[in-house]
Each structure stands twice: as structure tokens, then as C-alpha cells.
Symmetry: C2
């Protein structure tokens, strides 16, 4: 199960749209596939989701995910993975050929997979930016400007 | 199915912790219940989730959800709801007794429910702020400062 989750991130990291095509759910639930990229509205349906990843891959020079806090729960044909994505992204190379600047980011994700005859396939991916420290103060933590 | 989703938001809107207790999944999957409040890290486990709602309710004078873009997919014992939460929140009343200031917010949510003998119960709620207009430019839309 963790393998399917890792394969999803590997596909994005490797900018491998074919690998991602193989991981995202097909069949009767394809129209309900849902993805939220950090800060984005909901994208619904396999076609719209794949289109967004094609755009992201085309506009991303370099991206690497270090996953932490990975927790998995499996119940029958459904699996839930929550994790923290420690993301390192790079801009385009400089004119002199040197590597572009790197930027780090912290995103939390809930990923839901369904089991199919071909294996576990991604049904839902919701990633969102962590905007505050873990805190007991919901007003402070709930404020996007905090 | 929409009824369970609405009951979840009604419970928060009414600051009704007992009603929320009845909606959040119990049983073998209780430890895997996962909630992400907008901008927060992942909260995992029914106990931690309920504690967060108790804190939020204690610190929220007024909150109202207008749900739009509600889309539901049901497959066997699992249901996925995506929706946009148009949130109106109010601060504490002023010293002169007049109502506190109201603030609007836009959050997108993916909610996953499991069917139990008692009905549909919430397994996953992930809410995240929408930080950019819907756009074909993933770099602009992915930038929390955009």
C-alpha cells in the first residue's frame, strides 16, 4: 500500500506523466477522481486532474518530495494515507548554465486509494499548505495570515 | 449521503459537539480518522479530532457554511464528497452589545464517509484555503502569495 503512495510521488518527481496515468483510478469512478493542489480549487474527474499534472510538470524544472509522518489505514478496498510532503522545488537554470534557485515548502496530504484488479489506484489527493505551527490556539492556527 | 455531509456542517455551525460525536466514525477505523483544518497539520485519530473541534467551537462566536459545488460519489461502503465552503465567521460581540465583525472565507473540502450499521460516518475531512483564482497557470496558482 505504501508502494502505491510512493509510486504516485515518484511519478510527479520524475515528471513521468505515463507513470501517473497508470496510478490514477480508471473505470466507473474515473469521473469522481478528485485532486486539490495546494491553494487550488477542487479538480474533479480524471481528465481534468491529468491535465493539471501535465501543466505542473511542464512548468516545474525540479521537484523532490521527502515524505514524513506517513500513516496508512486500509479497510477492505479502500486505503487512506496521510503524510507530510517536505517539498524542494527548483526554478529554471540560470543563463550561465548553473542550477536555478531551490525553494522548500511544507504541504500536508490526504490520499485515498481504491483497490482494483490491477492494484491500488489513486482516487483522491488533497494537498494543502501548512500555514501555522502546530498549536492549541485554533484562532491563531486557523488564520491564513498567521 | 448528502444528508450526512450536511449534518457534519450543521454540527459545526451549531457548535454542537454531541452531534459531531455522532457523525465522526467510531470502531476499528477510529484511530485513523483524519482531519485537516485549513492551514493546519494533519490531525489523526478520533480523540485528537474531537479535541480540535472542541477548541474551535470554544473560540468561535459565530460560523456559517454556505456549501456550493457539492459533488458526491458513492462506491459500496465508501463515499466521497467534494465541496466549496463559503464561510462566514463572526468575532465576539462588541462591548456595547452589538454584533462582532463578520469575515468571509473560501475553503475547499474533500470529505470521505464510511457506511456503518448506524449510517454514514465521517472518516476524513480535509479543508484548505483557496489562495488563487482558478487558473491555467500552475505557477501562479500554486504560489500561496499569489
Amino acid at each position: 500500500m505504501e508502494a502505491a503512495n510512493q509510486a504516485f510521488y515518484d511519478a510527479v518527481e520524475n515528471s513521468d506523466l505515463d507513470a501517473l496515468e497508470a496510478i490514477v483510478l480508471t473505470g466507473p469512478l474515473a469521473e469522481s477522481v478528485a485532486v486539490v493542489h495546494p491553494g487550488w480549487p477542487v479538480l474533479r474527474g480524471r481528465r481534468e486532474v491529468m491535465r493539471s499534472y501535465a501543466l505542473i510538470m511542464a512548468n516545474t524544472e525540479y521537484i523532490q518530495f521527502f515524505l514524513t509522518d506517513v500513516e496508512v489505514a486500509v479497510d477492505g478496498d479502500t486505503a487512506l494515507v496521510t503524510c507530510t510532503e517536505n517539498i524542494l522545488t527548483g526554478g529554471p537554470a540560470e543563463d550561465d548554465g548553473s542550477a536555478g534557485s531551490l525553494v522548500g515548502g511544507l504541504v500536508v496530504a490526504t490520499n485515498v486509494f481504491r483497490h482494483t484488479p490491477e492494484g491500488w489506484r489513486l482516487w483522491v489527493h488533497h494537498g494543502s499548505p501548512v500555514l501555522a505551527d502546530e498549536s492549541d490556539d485554533p484562532e491563531a492556527a486557523g488564520d491564513p495570515d498567521a
